[in-house]
Symmetry: C2
Amino acid sequence: MSNNTKGRLVVVSGPSGVGKGTVLEYVLKRDDFVYSVSATTRKPRDIDEDGVTYFFKQREEFEAMIAGGELIEYAEYNGNYYGTPKFFVEKMLSEGKNVILEIEVKGAMQIKKLVPDAVFVFIAPESRKVLEDRLRGRGTEEESVIANRLAIAEREIKCCLMYDYIVINRQGGAENCAEDIVSAVRAENFRPVNMYGSVEEFFN
Amino acid sequence: MSNNTKGRLVVVSGPSGVGKGTVLEYVLKRDDFVYSVSATTRKPRDIDEDGVTYFFKQREEFEAMIAGGELIEYAEYNGNYYGTPKFFVEKMLSEGKNVILEIEVKGAMQIKKLVPDAVFVFIAPESRKVLEDRLRGRGTEEESVIANRLAIAEREIKCCLMYDYIVINRQGGAENCAEDIVSAVRAENFRPVNMYGSVEEFFN
């Protein structure tokens, strides 16, 4: 981040089974990357810490945030709200941190409209075979469950061409994949649309 | 270069005085980057080595290369031809090296038509003041010479928005600027247009 003191919102998607978690752990080892902390109405568990794992909210508080436009995006799962508070993202960006927001494809496309200068990264598997093995390896589910997961994953992967960058998480290559993401975020700052301010003087 | 075995042509431009040489020295310290070796009809000097500093050619040989379409670009200066032989660039690319071609703006725009998958990087100064100081610091030229050089530099900088990436060579920051270029070349491989082959299986 040599040319911007402000950080960038990094929207990351990828199908279930691609190994996003491991890749992002490597990215987050870098000082200039942080994970977006979500707000939720679900009850805290033992391992939870308010403001670290989630911002825990009462239902009324969360609905007030929705009404007040305080969330970048939100959704409801199993009767609980989950959403991305603007204040946290903006605070981190202003401190020069790149904020990683892991979100599925549909949510990502909503953010593309709201935050046009975010950078969109898709993590893809190296092949259908590898993805299938990973989905299968997770448990002892029936064939129909596996087939359904694979179909969902493939539908998501078909959206990858809408992202700014596509990186592959190869077998044993999570750390390398993380470096690819870091390079992409760094390079995004050097695109003319983002550099105009730095050379504007020469156009006057 | 985790996703391509083939290298990429990296076209680098920047105004006189911006410090391209120092930046590119840092880039070339990396194993996966080489400098494009030009062909020329000028006489070799003591420090020259055929195939290392230049490919030395007789005038007839050079003109045969032009006629045979063996040069990516060429120009004549001071009665000598200088050009970029395709065979050297293609050999290096096939060996997985990124080939750096340092060339002024007009030449770069010609290459954009000929090699659409090249990546175009512009090295800009951090300010007009810094550029002027550097141009002035080079010698004891008259004001009119300095003013002329500055005018040429500014005209070149105005073309920077046509490049894929713009990096700034800050005072004392040549090594960082080199890292920026390396990130840009790496990231270029992850643009959807260059990644389609890696995910094509999911579209069939």
